[in-house]
């Protein structure tokens, strides 16, 4: 019964509906122990619901899942003993100080008061929060709150950690700090399931990625495989005059073989991995009389990944499964 399985998470055919909406619609996952596994998708794709099912906060309507060898439905208590969850909302108590939050969790996890205090001080130190230890969390910045939240998840080191969009809304510096923490955690042997909306984040951190859309996994593989399947990079151009976009699109079609019109009426992009070809394409725009405001060569955005994988852009929904109408239309 114990964890002989080399897989930290095995889920098959998970389904979870809210009323008419199937937020999770047959998700399969196989996450190796000791790795960082990314679940990539737009808001409302079913990422959070999947995590909540795996963390035993929701019962699946169908399908099964084992976390570190324990069934999430029949042995939820065993699962809770080895996982921790860092939710999308920083789930720390705003009316308590950072230190009190960590001591509280230490006590709840079975530490004696003295050990809990010591552990809290140790973590606050390690997460650069020692100076804010006695401050109420409601006065913390977003980045500090996030770090405290992660610290709260490792008061007792979990074997598996669920991280739901840990850097959404953070400034770049705080984001890098959180990434560093995640890397150190994995180096220490913890398995991490990371939900994110950012391809770059998944690329930076994860060993494998599942791309999820409307409650199902639509692609799975290493970041390299995934990027190869959608083109490994993209040239983005912003025009000074949106009216010149058709002309620019023609140039892109000729020079790079494809074009993607961005939501911004002055923006367009095309898959392109090679800096020289990109420079050539930009020069070509100039020769065609198209005035360029700016350009960049970067990884494909989530939107482009989605376009490549599904043929539709990653529309942003506010809530898990809010695409009911769309999905129902497709189902019929």
């Amino acid at each position: 019964m114990a964890s002989q399985s080399p897989l930290a998470i095995e889920a098959s055919g998970l389904v979870k509906s809210f009323g008419e909406t199937r937020a999770v619609d047959g998700v399969d996952l196989a996450v190796g122990a000791g790795s960082i596994y990314g679940v990539l998708g737009p808001n409302g794709a079913g990422k959070t619901t999947t995590i909540r099912v795996l963390a035993t906060l929701l019962r699946p309507d169908a399908g099964s899942a084992r976390v570190l060898g324990h069934d999430v439905v029949s042995e939820p208590e065993r699962v809770r003993e080895v996982v921790s969850l860092t939710g999308q909302l920083a789930s720390v108590d705003e009316d308590l100080t950072g230190h009190e939050n960590l001591v509280l969790l230490g006590l709840l996890l079975g530490l004696r008061r003295k050990a809990a205090k010591k552990r809290s001080a140790e973590l606050l130190d390690a997460f650069g929060l020692a100076e804010a230890a006695g401050k109420l969390v409601k006065h913390y910045s977003g980045g500090m709150r996030r770090r405290l939240d992660i610290a709260a998840s490792i008061v007792v080191t979990p074997q598996l950690m669920f991280l739901d969009e840990p850097t959404t809304g953070l400034d770049p510096r705080s984001r890098n700090q959180v990434w560093e923490i995640i890397r150190t955690l994995v180096a220490g042997g913890t398995t991490i399931l990371l939900c994110t909306q950012y391809l770059e984040e998944a690329d930076q951190l994860t060993d494998r990625i599942a791309v999820i859309d409307r409650g199902t996994v639509i692609a799975e593989g290493t970041p390299a495989e995934l990027k190869a399947s959608v083109g490994s990079g993209a040239l983005h151009v912003r025009l000074l005059d949106p009216d010149q976009r058709p002309a620019a699109a023609d140039v892109f079609e000729r020079a790079l073989g494809a074009v993607h019109l961005e939501p911004d009426p002055a923006g367009l992009s095309a898959p392109c991995a090679d800096a020289e070809r990109a420079a050539e394409a930009v020069a070509e725009l100039g020769r065609a009389g198209v005035r360029v405001g700016g350009f960049s060569l970067g990884q494909p955005s989530l939107d482009e990944v989605f376009l490549a994988l599904t043929g539709h852009p990653a529309e942003d929904q506010d809530d898990d499964g809010a695409t009911t109408v769309l999905r129902e239309e497709q189902a019929t």
Binding site: E81, L96, E100, L108, L109, T184, L185
Partner: protein
């Protein structure tokens, strides 16, 4: 205040980043998993959390004590003479009733606090911990009981300062406070249920006070019911808040009816029996 800290951090980071990474690795290496917390340990931890909130958010306690203090002062000096013949006599009548009122008002905050936890995501954290399932709820209510005692003490102290003299002495006052606290514990389950059903802390506050306010006024907290119209008097007589007030008066001044105390305890037990499992079920469902 937060900008100040973010600005202060970079200087530290350039020198301390490497040290922090090492500290982080150490922090991760040094945790053998302790044995699971017992039900009692987790209850105490959640109770401690409740007390910390009293310390850090004293406004909540003020809210629920200022209204009763105002009522004591207004009713005693404005209506006391007219209602009971003298302000002193009326104070002896009204004070046990206002004690009941102030503590019962406080119970609404149990529901508000739980709803706040739910909307802020704290509940997710607690639900993913390997602790005795009802511990977050029961522990919070135990912490709240301390709040009831504080609210009660404020009222009694005010009364004593104004000339309230309980015939049954300190023992009677403590017995009355204990009875009110037990009843409040039962009643607060109603508000925790509301707290899990309604959408926002404000909705819980509005619904809670909309219920508790008329119930408190349609009781014998402020006036003897003899002069009331028959239908209203019938309601006031069976209102558990009237019975609780009568029992508290009896305990403070001597001559409490055993029947009243039994009815109060039975009501508290019934409320707990219905609403505690309901709250637990809703909490588990999340």
């Amino acid at each position: 205040m937060s900008t100040e800290t973010t600005q202060a951090a970079p200087a530290r980071r350039t020198t301390g980043a490497r040290g922090e990474a090492a500290a982080l690795r150490n922090a991760l290496a040094s945790t053998p998993r302790p044995p699971r917390a017992s039900a009692m340990q987790s209850l105490l931890a959640f109770g401690w959390r409740g007390m910390l909130k009293v310390k850090h958010v004293p406004e909540q306690l003020l809210d629920v004590t200022i209204t009763p203090v105002m009522f004591v002062l207004m009713f005693t000096y404005l209506f006391g003479g007219a209602i009971a013949g003298s302000t002193g006599e009326y104070l002896d009548y009204i004070l046990p009733g206002v004690l009941v009122m102030s503590v019962l008002f406080t119970t609404v905050y149990s529901g508000i606090a739980l709803n706040t936890d739910l909307t802020k995501g704290v509940v997710d954290r607690f639900r993913s911990l390997p602790v005795w399932r009802p511990a977050p709820l029961v522990g919070a209510l135990l912490g709240d009981s301390v709040r009831y005692l504080v609210a009660g003490t404020v009222i009694v102290a005010l009364g004593l300062a104004l000339g309230f003299r309980p015939d049954a002495g300190l023992g009677g006052v403590l017995a009355a406070m204990a009875l009110v606290t037990v009843f409040a514990f039962g009643l607060s389950w109603v508000f925790t249920t509301l707290g899990l059903l309604l959408r926002s802390p404000n909705a819980v506050m509005n619904a809670g006070f909309m219920g508790i306010f008329p119930l408190t006024f349609l009781s014998n907290v402020f006036v003897e019911p003899q002069t009331l119209p028959a239908a209203l008097k019938a309601f006031v007589d069976v209102n558990p808040i009237s019975i609780l007030s009568t029992a508290s008066r009896g305990l403070m001044h001597g001559g409490a009816e055993a029947t009243d105390i039994v009815i109060v305890l039975a009501t508290a037990a019934t409320l707990t029996a219905i609403f505690a499992p309901l709250t637990t079920r809703l909490y588990r469902r999340g």
